[in-house]
């Protein structure tokens, strides 16, 4: 029997599910090997009987925890898709501020109608078996993870910094060009795609398991960068692992 797969989304832009649609004709091929039983964005049918659940988005309110726990109870394997689900991502920027203030700023005196708490990766709520990082996910990496899961193998996600790939690609170092980036501490696997396009590494794949912060500090000192400049870049994607951000009380 074909494995039954389902897609779910929480607080996110749904850009990761879009990357799966963007597989175009290869998605049609993939569909021959699996049975999609739930994908609200694309299909009307829905079933709670599935083997693999792919989840996009962060958990940003207590009321969504129950839905996540149900998915966990139904699925044999849970895969987190994208920065919001794997590391909290952009959603965690609001964790640096008082949550009531944030609600008041957006919804004014009606703020109590709108529930929110500190944004978090789904792993903070349920057990996650595999993660496909990046904002948005790289469709090739998604395919390789999907293939590994379908053949019973463990998907491979690198645990070295983006700088390794960036150097191999022959890019001039971003710092050398007078810009700031977080490539030295960010998980590789993207092929340094943003730097290749003339941009900087924003850190969307999250921190590597043991970031060499001393080496990063040396780089920053070498280029006379202010702590504030670097902190601003750290706050974009690393909010959940940053001790300066608020943490849930438990």
């Amino acid at each position: 029997m074909k494995p039954r797969i389902a897609f779910f989304d929480f607080a996110s832009c749904e850009g990761d599910q879009l990357q799966i649609v963007n597989l175009e004709e290869r998605l049609l091929e993939l569909l021959q090997h699996v049975e999609v039983v739930s994908f609200r964005e694309a299909m009307k049918e829905h079933s709670d009987n599935y083997d693999i659940a792919f989840i996009e988005g962060s958990c940003t309110r207590a009321s969504d925890e129950e839905r996540l726990k149900k998915i966990r109870a139904n699925a044999k394997i849970v895969v987190a898709l994208g920065s919001c689900a794997t590391i909290g991502g952009i959603n965690c920027i609001k964790n640096y501020r008082n949550q009531t203030e944030v609600r008041k700023e957006v919804y004014g005196d009606k703020y109590e109608l709108f529930d929110t708490y500190l944004a978090r990766p789904i792993e903070a709520v349920i057990k996650v078996d595999y993660k496909v990082p990046q904002c948005p996910i790289n469709k090739e990496e998604f395919l390789s993870v999907a293939k590994a899961l379908l053949t019973g193998q463990k998907p491979f996600i690198p645990d070295y910094p983006v700088c390794v790939e960036c150097k191999m690609n022959g890019n001039v170092c971003v710092f050398e060009k007078g810009m700031t980036c977080v490539g030295p501490v960010t998980r590789a696997g993207c092929g340094s795609c943003c730097v290749n396009e003339g941009a900087i590494c924003w850190g969307c794949r999250g921190l590597i398991d043991n970031p060499n912060t001393d080496a990063h500090k040396e780089v920053l000192e070498k280029y006379n960068l202010t702590p504030q400049e670097v902190m601003n870049k750290f706050k974009l994607y690393f909010g959940w692992s940053d001790t300066n951000a608020q943490k849930p009380q438990s």
């Binding site: 989304d9 929480f10 607080a11 996110s12 832009c13 749904e14 850009g15 990761d16 599910q17 879009l18 649609v21 963007n22 175009e24 004709e25 049609l28 569909l31 994908f39 609200r40 964005e41 694309a42 299909m43 009307k44 049918e45 829905h46 988005g57 940003t60 991502g89 952009i90 959603n91 920027i93 609001k94 640096y96 501020r97 203030e101 944030v102 609600r103 700023e105 957006v106 919804y107 004014g108 005196d109 009606k110 109608l113 709108f114 929110t116 904002c135 948005p136 007078g178 810009m179 700031t180 795609c193 396009e197 003339g198 941009a199 900087i200 924003w202 960068l225 400049e229 601003n232 974009l236």
Partner: protein, 442 residues
């Protein structure tokens, strides 16, 4: 309608739309007690997130409001920042940005019509069964979608969350050879577009013929069918500069929705492809006007279901206008000797005494505004963004209230389908609409 007619519809999390929305209808003894379009999406508070952030990261953050229209959000954001700091763009970069918007419009409209709307017209639950029953049609849709995405990749670095678009222009631009290849790919695509147009033409009778008068709002300018720039145009009022957007949006909160609603001259208005068509149809390319004629689409069209057809008309327009823009870029002798821009740690321009900047662009679902205020060090102190789908929520609600009494005597599944198709016709981007809400208390 029967006096003893009872009906309960609770479409929780309507499918084949971006984001979470519910349709709730309760009819007791022939009387409509509840008729509601609800938006329970988890809010994300982007406007509070960007406060305290520096001018050179705002577009990166706000791009994440929406996966489907991330190019549009990035451009509205950049235009707001550029307006605040008086940053000017070259003609070349404006043309490239227009191409980027066309690419996004093509991608988004094809996705909506081919993957989300077509299943309704063909009586199935999703595009997946169509892949086996109508492989040729599905593959044609996939090919158009793929070309549009490749166009985004080429102009923006990637399709979703563009990398090359930054304040002042681009970090990298496509080579002339790449542009020539893109032009060839677009030219080769006409046959596919015609196939999809013919398929939709054969299915168009299935679109309900419901009409309700309303106001339409879209960017408008005398030079082109506006996507990148223009004034705020309305079918009910004179046009005005984008600085006056608050007068045209008037957002308000309703308890059953985490997204806000908007109104202008009437209780509601509509934005998106049909609004653009109704206001700017005279500036469409020849081929796209022909397609409109084929479907009998005429301004002013008050049938919201025809938004689907207006999207098809715009696919043809974006396709044809892209080829024109590429030709102009190819003819520009200074194209590849002009500079590109860089991310920098310090602003490289003189600050103006203007601290507020407003940017508006037309994204696939309608007019989008970003409005930022910066302090003298270039950090954002206040942000307001108004999303197309927010502007449509009240119009969807008003359409439902007008439509439900007209169709109450039909079978429940038919009523459900018509209501779902109505919501889908607006191509709502619900996660967007809950992400950028801000109340102004005057």
């Amino acid at each position: 309608m029967h006096k003893n007619h009872n009906l309960d519809i609770d479409l929780h999390y309507i499918t084949r739309v971006e984001g979470h929305g519910n349709i709730v209808i309760n009819v007791k003894e022939g009387k409509i007690e509840k008729c509601q379009w609800q938006v329970p999406e988890a809010p994300r508070f982007f406007e509070a997130m960007v406060v305290g952030q520096k001018w050179d990261v705002l577009h990166h953050i706000t791009s994440r409001i929406c996966g489907i229209c991330s190019i549009g959000h990035t451009l509205a954001s950049l235009k707001a920042t550029e307006a605040a700091f008086g940053i000017k763009l070259s003609e070349r970069d404006i043309k490239l940005r227009k191409l980027a918007l066309h690419a996004e419009n093509l991608q988004s409209h094809v996705l909506h019509l081919g993957y989300l709307v077509l299943p309704d017209l063909m009586g199935v639950g999703s595009v997946i069964p169509l892949a086996s029953t109508h492989p040729a049609e599905v593959k044609t849709v996939v090919r158009i979608h793929k070309t549009a995405n490749e166009m985004s990749d080429l102009i923006c670095g990637r399709t979703t969350h563009p990398q090359r678009l930054i304040p002042g222009g681009f970090t990298k631009i496509p080579s002339k050879d790449e542009l020539k290849n893109l032009k060839d790919a677009l030219n080769a695509e006409w046959n596919d577009i015609e196939i999809v147009a013919q398929l939709l033409l054969s299915l168009a009778p299935k679109l309900p013929s419901f009409t309700r008068e309303t106001e339409f709002i879209a960017l408008t300018n005398p030079n082109d069918y506006a996507f990148y720039d223009g004034e705020i145009g309305s079918t009910d009022a004179k046009s005005a500069s984008v600085d006056r957007y608050l007068e045209y949006t008037n957002e308000y909160i309703v308890p059953h929705s985490t997204a806000k609603y908007a109104k202008h001259a009437r209780e509601s208005y509509m934005v998106g492809a049909l609004a653009r068509y109704n206001l700017n149809h005279r500036l469409l390319t020849k081929k796209s006007q022909d397609i409109a004629g084929l479907f009998g689409l005429k301004a002013l069209c008050y049938n919201p279901y025809m938004n689907n057809i207006a999207q098809l008309v715009e696919i043809v327009h974006s396709w044809e206008d892209s080829i024109r823009l590429i030709d102009e870029l190819l003819a520009d002798n200074s194209y590849d000797i002009q500079r590109t821009n860089m991310h920098t740690n310090v602003p490289t321009y003189q600050r103006t005494n203007v601290q507020q900047g407003i940017g508006a662009v037309e994204v696939p679902r309608g007019i989008l505004y970003h409005d930022y205020t910066y302090d003298d060090k270039g950090f954002c102190t206040k942000a307001n963004c108004i999303i197309p789908t927010n502007q449509n929520h009240a119009n969807i609600q008003a359409d439902m209230e007008a439509l439900v009494p007209q169709i109450l005597d039909r079978p429940k599944n038919e009523i459900e389908l018509m209501l779902e198709m109505l919501v889908r016709a607006y191509d709502p981007c619900i996660s967007c609409s809950t992400h950028m809400l801000k109340v102004e208390f005057c």
